[in-house]
Point group: C2
Chain length 293, copies 2
């Protein structure tokens, strides 16, 4: 890629964020919309791309996220851990020669199987920008929490935990749903849940125990959502912190979520540092693009 | 209750089963319908009971199950573990003096909280009828699996695991739903799931791993439902078998479910014996009614 600037897009399932960078790498324009990959009709990506070029000019485009999945434009094969930013750069999928490239996702394909698309850019960006140490455990809370182990700047292993989706399933569709409509707050009930979730690895029993605790007047229904959220975050941390190093855990994501995760980490005896997700993403895209200029 | 016979009803949330017993305790009539407690309008139980009396005559009625819950006729307070059949008998809730009684449910109200309604009758019946030993671990698979520890004929502890409901949530509403429409069969994928579920206590990560395994061509989508069912049953057993005695596990319930649980127990190195649920229920009601004649 030449030195005339760059457009980077974090192109997810339901949303996308677009950044226009100048030749020095500074953001000169940013926008976000709901044109995630599922909002683009099958076969519609070349047209969508032409539309973007009309607006942003003939600069290189670097795309990351679900745009490289089977539901996206072209499937970019996952790069197997350990992954470095050099590996990612070498594995870029050029959908339009010298013009438009997709950053591949990363996978674990060993005793366990795991996949990510898009988060890998933030992970390398966080290290490259000095936002976290080159040896760190990073956590990206969300519908599917990602826990990533970075050693010497390389992504050596990661694990996805579907705690967020599980909370949504329970809140919207389960026997517990009527009890889970209240707001989740960091308080005694939340912390009780975290401790139990961290402790016994019996989530499917502890969830039913919530209902029993309400029936036996041990738990105020107004606290049930906080308690169940705590249980799930405790179970999430129990998996993510397994054999974790002692340093602070880097938290990347939506402040409403990272605040709860920070509280849960505190309960687990871990410190944490918040990492700005957009800054990490931009730094990651910049370092991947750098070698291409 | 006098020696003129007895009507026992297993009155659940969505169904009920009615048995008319003669003075010797033999079943002379049985029927089942969809008039569970949620199908009876609020305040409608006395009328429904009058209707039943018209049909079955002026014999004692012994009711068990959700009929004694807050959604049922009258709430029968849970009896706290350890529970014996004598305790249950002493705690019967007489809704119509000397005519109609509700068997209370059982609860655990210690470090953990748990509740059951209806299953307690089957547990005591299984022991009373000699279907299981007076010291046994009993498992009642279902939407919410019950694991009950019987010592010297008393129910000393039990645990509810919502593995069945979790499978339904995942199959109907989750990100994994499109992959979970196939039939669950006891085969290699199911057993792989059971082993993993038993092993690592990382269910929320293993579930996402199913999706990753399909994306990485490690798991045939046709096997996904069996694998996920295995994962959940493994997690269920991991909780239920915690500090379990070495004898066979008594399995009470629908044969389609007990067959899968039997296979999972086999994978966990446990033997099991199938227990006829209706026979256990009737024996339980008989022993509770006996002291009242």
């Amino acid at each position: 890629m030449r030195g005339e600037g760059l457009v980077t897009i974090d192109w997810g399932t339901t949303n996308r964020r677009i950044f226009l960078l100048d030749a020095q790498g500074a953001v000169v324009h940013r926008e976000a919309d709901a044109l995630g990959v599922t909002a683009v009709p099958p076969g519609g990506f070349p047209n969508e791309m032409a539309r973007l070029r009309e607006r942003f000019g003939n600069v290189p485009f670097l795309l990351a996220g679900m745009i490289g999945s089977s539901r996206g434009w072209v499937e970019a094969p996952y790069v197997r851990c350990p992954v470095t930013f050099e590996t990612l750069r070498e594995s870029l999928l050029w959908v339009e020669p010298r013009q438009t490239a997709i950053v591949p996702g990363a996978c674990v394909d060993a005793q366990r199987a795991d996949v990510m698309r898009g988060e890998e850019v933030q992970l390398f960006g966080a290290v490259a920008a000095g936002l976290v140490a080159p040896d760190a455990l990073l956590c990206l809370p969300g519908t599917h929490t990602k826990w990533a182990r970075i050693v010497d700047g390389a992504l050596i292993d990661f694990r996805t935990v579907m705690a967020g989706e599980m909370f949504a399933l329970l809140r919207n569709h389960s026997l517990l749903a009527p009890q889970l409509s209240c707001e989740v707050v960091d308080g005694e009930a939340f912390r009780d849940g975290v401790r139990r979730g961290l402790d016994d690895g019996a989530l499917l029993s502890d969830l039913f125990g919530t209902r029993a605790s309400i029936l036996l007047d041990r738990l105020d229904p107004a606290d049930a959502a906080s308690y169940v959220s705590g249980l799930l975050l405790g179970a999430d941390l129990r998996i993510g912190l397994h054999r974790a190093p002692s340093g602070p855990v880097g938290l990347i994501g939506d402040p409403a979520l990272t605040r709860l995760f920070g509280a849960a980490l505190d309960e687990a005896g871990y410190t944490h540092q918040e990492v700005d997700g957009e800054r990490a993403f931009l730094a990651g895209m910049a370092i991947i693009a750098e070698g291409l200029r």
